[in-house]
Symmetry: C2
Subunit: 337 residues, 2 copies
Amino acid sequence: VLAGGAGTRLWPASTADRPKHLLELVGEGTLLQQTLDRLGDHDLFEAPIIVCADGQSEAIVEDALASRLIVEPMPRGSAAAIALAASAVAPDTVLLILPSDHHLANVHPLLDAVRRALPVAREGLLVTFGICPGRPETGYGYIVAGKAISNGIFEAQSFVEKPDVATAEQLLRTGTAYWNSGMFLFRAEAFLDELERHAAAINSAARNAMAAAVADGSRLRPASAPLEKCPATSIDYAVMEHSDRIAVVPVDLDWSDVGSWAAVYELAAKDADGNVVGEGSRAIDSRNCLIRSEGPKVVAIGVEDLVIIATADGVIVVPRSESQRVREAAETPRSDS
Amino acid sequence: VLAGGAGTRLWPASTADRPKHLLELVGEGTLLQQTLDRLGDHDLFEAPIIVCADGQSEAIVEDALASRLIVEPMPRGSAAAIALAASAVAPDTVLLILPSDHHLANVHPLLDAVRRALPVAREGLLVTFGICPGRPETGYGYIVAGKAISNGIFEAQSFVEKPDVATAEQLLRTGTAYWNSGMFLFRAEAFLDELERHAAAINSAARNAMAAAVADGSRLRPASAPLEKCPATSIDYAVMEHSDRIAVVPVDLDWSDVGSWAAVYELAAKDADGNVVGEGSRAIDSRNCLIRSEGPKVVAIGVEDLVIIATADGVIVVPRSESQRVREAAETPRSDS
């Protein structure tokens, strides 16, 4: 379970100290708790390993009592985070890699897909789970499926980073393109072999960091020095887009990366005016707004299609359609008014 | 100086504990400080008397060291507040009544008008100061001037409460209608005589409350019991609209009652995008917005013509054109979302 993200797209609720996966954004519990709840089938899963950032480990321990924590001394991207986990287990362990900050409406299609993919993963392929795309979303990456390997499992033909609308529409028309969910299944050594082949510096940094790791209760603290020199990049850039040992398993899943306040709005129950209003706040004569506060009481009067999020530290006001721009607010303030 | 208002139109900045006249809304200093600064000519004025609410007297003392305070045990409207002050001074004292929460760009036209009006006030008329109206404002009351009493001083012919647009436009066309500024000049006993004539219950309540008043340093605390039975109403309703001893002195004054966030916006210096952005807040790709915070850092992205005000306790988001509706936010929350 990858829990190293900081998250600037959900400012002011998400901050470096309290990243997206530690927020209650959809339904009950934090996104991390919900992710861990998906791993409750002990016939299928061993105790989870959470790779998290140093400053967040205290908060995460509350959510993850029965888990092992690998505490990264510094953020180095998902490739290194996964390499640390893969270096911490027996080489033939099959790892299911899950981001900790996504939403699934129902876990069963994913569990079915994991069971289906297990034989292929055991054979040494790196399995990605591709979400059947419901719309030509430009905010996600796509995986294009090629030849069938077995029933419902395909070779990955290519990866397409966040496309423009025309490209996204064309991808949907092919019927063989899937959203890259960031969820993977593979044998630890199969991943590390491919990492050695395509990004050897990351593999050796992770291996050396784990060789000198210090145990601290349920926490394992990889050594800093090797990671300082480790390239910071994603598993997609480091391995998936280069390896010829990738399989894709399509999953029909009501899935979201909860990547913006607009996504939080879409996932929430609306009132009769189309508003999503958190406890203590009010919308008067307003339509289709998302209003949440953990601090001051927010009152909106006579506005439409706005996102208004408040904490004791910050307030963002932005049209829902532009809510991906919230990361601009999380940046260091400039005097550009 | 009348400083008893609570102010719900500038929520969340104004609250019962911290009313509008104690806020820094326009330029330097609170509106009360600015009001007291207008009385610095000691040839013209004695030390001010401030009539204030009990809960606010501590905060007011900081602004008003050289003043006498009359601390109302409960709010009873401007008629009673003025009656308390008029009962506290020698009968032939000429009182200049000033609201503490208005904005004047320049005090000199007012001081000139006060000097002009003094002889008429000494003769026993109740003088109102009428602001030359710059637009057919529907948020103000109007005074219609009648026959000239002397140079630049007229009998008040009638009072018009907040008119509709058509009436306001018609009033402006007459050339003899002025905004009712809530500023008055009269001999204490002349006012109390007219109060006795038109609202005797207020006069006797104020007189009895002052007869049993308790001194407390610079503060005078009128007795509660008589005021409990005192009608709560404005000087306009109680006296001005009924008396035939009213004079109006037109003043050409850049004046505002700072009655809404839209008024605060109008009075402030704008940046190149037409925004008024308080310290610590930011407007990105936004136009013609008023953004202020005393608490959380506010960031607005891609919005126009909005008022966004934040404190540690509350946040309001409302179109500038509807900012008079802010009082709805200050009301007790209901579950109407």
